[in-house]
Assembly symmetry: C2
Homo-oligomer: 229 residues x 2
DNA sequence: TGAATAGTGTCTCTTAGACACTATTTA
DNA sequence: TAAATAGTGTCTAAGAGACACTATTCA
């Protein structure tokens, strides 16, 4: 082996969900130094015989108590600037998870506390290490991916209505979309949605058809965000 | 430090250019085991006090002899499956570089040989380690990014014509684009191109206006690839 | 019945794509 | 002059956005 191998490798997770009209991230309060008492992204050291994505799944399960429901997990990027961790040279591989709003979300084992926090209400430099930057990158990735993939459905339960899907777009993009044009658009994009054949019951108003995720992995044509400004 | 820190961290580079109507990648022939004699992506170990992107820039300079001309460099992703390197647990952070076709490209120091290879003519499993996968991911990233960023210009010299830019799109996407519609499209997208004010000389046909990269970092509306199939 | 939400129809404006045409150079 | 390449104009079809209207439920 090379003499350069004095690195530690961790995974950190940007876990996003939509709840109460807010895009929210799962944060944990650190119980040990460094940054003891600070909020941070969930994560931990990669085991020596463990694949990176498996480490991310393990941490996700440990922190949320769920074994990957109908969500989405992808690699976000790596952060390894010298000095980002006072304990030594630590390279972290960040993962982005998109989950439906969970009934009983946070059931951590390691973390002293874990909590959903609204992304828009987090101030800069509130998180430990460089986790502000990682979170911001994850949020931007999620926003961009809603445009050209069907990943908005990853924020929804397995069966969802078009209004629920629209609420995801509106929350993540912090914008308003015309319900009627949105309906035409998503039902007209091949592979985006697969009809369940049933409708909601018991709500106010006309019942809505239920859908699950369609087979498409890319949207064509994409759902472009309204230009900002 | 944690007892998990028996990792080595490397950077590997997917260096792409457009030359002779082909999307080409810079490959080096390995001079030492493992995979001695095989073609591989340029790369090497990250120094202990060195930022990841600086390691990538250093390797790029060492292998190409150029200190980042007018190109583009971004992180592609990390690959760390146990067993991907027989020497031990090695996590590599891959970077994607897009460069103009260089006059005197390959002037490696480490590598026994270095060479531009057409991406389409590379067979599967021709590269060492998991570099086939990394290269494929880099090519797909480049193809996708031409749609919604002005990065096609990174494949061009500092001053270029619209026909050169179109040739980049056609080569990377392996498709044909209507020259007249392409011209209208790129000149009509704000921030994509900045006119130099001069024209080419000495070619056949009417001289073409020269442009350099505009200030935009995102194209709106995007340049969508024609749907395949 | 009215309020509320789901879903369709229609119009307009913008853009993509096809392609005729003009402009400016070299041979 | 012809050949070649650059660049514009125009038509058509498709999609986005605005918004009137119909449909189906609960209170």
């Amino acid at each position: 082996m090379s003499e350069d191998s004095t690195f530690a490798v961790t995974v950190d997770l940007v876990v996003l969900t939509v709840r109460d009209e807010e895009l929210s991230a799962l944060l944990v309060r650190r119980g040990v130094p460094p940054h003891e008492g600070c909020w941070a992204l969930p994560g931990g050291f990669v085991h020596l015989d463990e694949d990176l994505v498996d480490a991310a799944i393990r941490e996700l399960t440990e922190e949320t108590g769920v074994a990957d429901p109908a969500g989405h997990l992808e690699q976000l990027g790596s952060y390894g600037t010298p000095g980002r961790d006072p304990r030594g040279r630590v390279v972290t591989v960040a993962y982005l998870a998109l989950l439906p709003d969970l009934p009983t979300p946070v059931a951590g084992s390691d973390a002293a506390q874990a909590q959903w926090r609204s992304v828009s209400e987090l101030s800069d430099s509130e998180l430990a290490f460089d986790h502000d930057q990682i979170l911001a990158d994850g949020v931007e990735r999620a926003r961009a991916k809603l445009e050209y993939t069907p990943l908005a459905a990853a924020f929804c339960p397995p069966e969802f209505t078009i209004a629920q899907l629209r609420a995801v777009y509106e929350t993540v993009w912090n914008t308003r979309l015309d319900p009627r044009n949105f309906h035409r658009k998503v039902t007209g994009t091949p592979g985006f949605l697969a009809p369940v054949g049933r409708a909601t019951e018991g709500d106010r108003g006309r019942p809505a058809q239920l859908f699950h995720r369609g087979p498409a992995s890319l949207l064509y044509p994409p759902m472009l965000r309204p230009p900002t400004g």
